[in-house]
């Protein structure tokens, strides 16, 4: 079975003085309906990996290697990644303001994506917006459609951002630290939402985070990155029972838990 997303020897370099190699020859694959988490500290290259796959690299960055989505090569000239973005791949950013325009109402933004990616007319896209907000369990959806992003709380904004990502019915969802800016209680809710949605719509998920606590409940497979290289990849259950690499073990040990007190 070919993977939905196949990353081979991906290397990302940034032109600076001295030049920086953010990602160093990474191999990774994500199968249909699979949830894969990439875990690493700031500066490990995990976000750059995501950006390279979706064509969001900064102007002075260069990606070499191969990234194939459903057989189609995303790297290389012609910015094919942009065409796939929003049509087969959805993106959820850390800060919802990365996906939400501050001066437009929530409903309008959702309707715009729905009609752009699926060619719906105005009425159909409005109904679709409502449906999407219901999917992400946003209470009082009718009211929310009329509001502006700044009128919502952080957790609600993130739900809207997820709804936006879902609008194009993606088969693969990229999530870049989707819960890092949120409170612990809201984090749990958003993670539960993501897990539920992936199951319900049969989406694959590639999630990037620095917090193994986030990942433990969500991932089928866990990949650990350090200084641009993939250090360990394993099935989640195996990984949590006992990571093989010392760096992975240190990441696991760093998660604050209530152990010893309960």
């Amino acid at each position: 079975m070919t993977a939905l997303l196949a990353v081979r020897s991906l290397t990302v370099d940034f032109a600076a003085s001295p030049p920086v190699r953010a990602v160093d020859s990474v191999d990774l694959s994500v199968a249909e309906r699979e949830s894969v988490a990439i875990v690493g500290e700031s500066g490990s290259g995990k976000s750059q990996l995501l950006h390279a796959c979706t064509g969001l690299l900064a102007p002075n960055g260069r990606a070499t290697g191969s990234v194939r989505f459903d057989g189609m090569e995303l790297l290389g000239p012609g910015n094919r990644a942009a065409a796939v973005r929003g049509r087969g791949i959805g993106f959820v950013f850390q800060d919802a303001s990365g996906s939400l325009t501050p001066h437009r109402r929530v409903g309008d933004q959702l309707a715009e994506i729905a009609s752009a990616t699926r060619g719906l007319d105005r009425d159909a896209s409005r109904i679709e917006s409502r449906r999407l907000l219901d999917c992400v369990h946003l209470p009082d959806a009718g009211q929310r459609l009329r509001e502006y992003p700044h009128e919502l709380s952080g957790g609600m904004r993130q739900r809207v951002a997820i709804a936006l990502a879902l609008a194009a019915r993606p088969r693969l969802l990229f999530a870049d630290e989707p819960t890092t800016a949120l409170d612990v209680t809201v984090q749990a809710e958003i993670l539960a939402l993501l897990a539920g949605l992936c199951r319900e719509f049969g989406m694959a998920l590639l999630l990037v985070t620095h917090d193994l606590g986030v990942v433990a409940s969500l991932a089928d497979r866990i990949a650990v990155m350090n200084a641009g290289r993939l250090v360990e990849t394993a099935a989640a259950a195996d990984f949590l029972r006992g990571p093989k690499h010392p760096y992975s073990a240190s990441l696991l040990a760093a998660v604050p838990t209530l152990a010893g007190l309960q």
Partner: protein, 332 residues
């Protein structure tokens, strides 16, 4: 006599365009911190915990209530009269990238409180003390000469701690000091704070939205929701036998790393789940809208913070009904 005492502290913000109705960010908070005690304050964003910290430091004015420091009332003082107290009351802020002037070197930022509060010091002596403090938190001389944008989050936060300590305060407000940092660095900073607190016998208010982090450092913990304290107790009590439904929710949200985590998450996903309602209900318990155990009484009448067994306090009408503390809804 306690070191710091708050009585009925209330802070209001004017809500723009809502009929100019005032929002009580902090609503009648009472507590006391003893010498050398580190008290934890947990709550979600918007619950008023940051505002509470800022009100102690005289960064926001009180709408009502009193703040007492070493038995002396300090909330009514003007900024000028308050200044000498700043040698005793310091702060470690949340975002190290934001609380350091980007145009000053680390060493200069750390030495700055000395410039303001100990005017007679010679520059050489100031620099020496800054160097000592930076050493204490593990920042090398080489790094101290650099600018904030050249250091990592963890290094910056160490510098922020050094700056808070340079005037030898008796009390430090730690406002979410690790929330903006990677998980791996969080542990280091928490350890550093713990060490410093023991070595210097500092009293402190440790504010965070993450109960696990607070429980690591603080013997006593307060839980805050929408401007009010809803539960207090030792960390052991809070974690093993929570009395307030919100505390239970906080506990359930702390990630547990084991192989059953996935099932628990999917079960949570299936539960009914609306995100919290924004408008604070008039009258009645503020948590009622979110509470799985809410009764009509809860929506009608606001529960007061009352004493429970063994020195704990809780604000909940149904507090006595679960003798061993509320059970987890994530059981399994």
């Amino acid at each position: 006599m306690s070191l710091l005492e708050l009585r009925g502290v209330t802070v209001r913000y004017r809500q723009p365009g809502d009929g100019a109705r005032d929002l009580a960010a902090v609503d009648g908070v009472d507590f006391a911190i003893a010498e050398h005690e580190m008290l934890g304050l947990v709550g979600e964003s918007g619950c008023g915990k940051t505002t509470l910290g800022r009100s102690i430091l005289r960064l926001v004015p009180l709408a009502a209530g009193e703040v007492h420091w070493r038995g002396r009332r300090i909330d009514g003082l003007s900024q000028r009269a308050f200044r000498p107290l700043r040698r005793e009351l310091q702060c470690v802020f949340q975002d190290p990238h934001a609380c350091l002037d980007p145009r000053m070197t680390i060493a200069a930022s750390v030495a700055e409180p000395l410039r303001a509060l100990e005017r007679g010091l010679a520059p050489v002596e100031r620099a020496r003390r800054a160097r000592l403090r930076l050493e204490e938190v593990g920042i090398a001389d080489e790094l101290a000469r650099r600018y904030p944008h050249q250091l990592s989050g963890g290094q910056l936060q160490r510098a922020v701690i050094a700056r808070a300590l340079i005037v030898d305060p008796g009390f430090v407000v730690c406002d979410e000091p690790v929330s903006a940092l990677d998980v791996t660095i969080q542990g280091q900073i928490v350890e550093l704070l713990g060490r410093i607190r023991v070595e210097r016998r500092l009293a402190s208010l440790f504010i965070s939205h993450n109960l696990a982090v607070v429980a690591r450092l603080c013997e006593r913990v307060m839980v805050m929701y929408r401007g009010r304290i809803v539960e207090t107790g030792t960390r052991r009590d809070i974690v093993s036998a929570p009395l307030h439904p919100y505390t239970r929710e906080l506990l359930d949200a702390v990630p547990v790393i084991d192989v059953r985590a996935r099932e628990r998450l999917l079960r949570r996903a299936q539960r009914a789940r609306p995100a919290a309602v924004d408008r604070a209900p008039a009258g009645g318990c503020a948590f009622a809208a979110r509470c799985p155990h809410a009764l009509p009484l809860c929506r009608a009448e606001r529960p007061q913070l009352m004493k429970a067994e063994s020195g704990r306090q809780v604000a909940c009408h149904r507090a006595g009904e679960w003798p061993g503390g509320l059970p987890s809804s994530m059981a399994g």
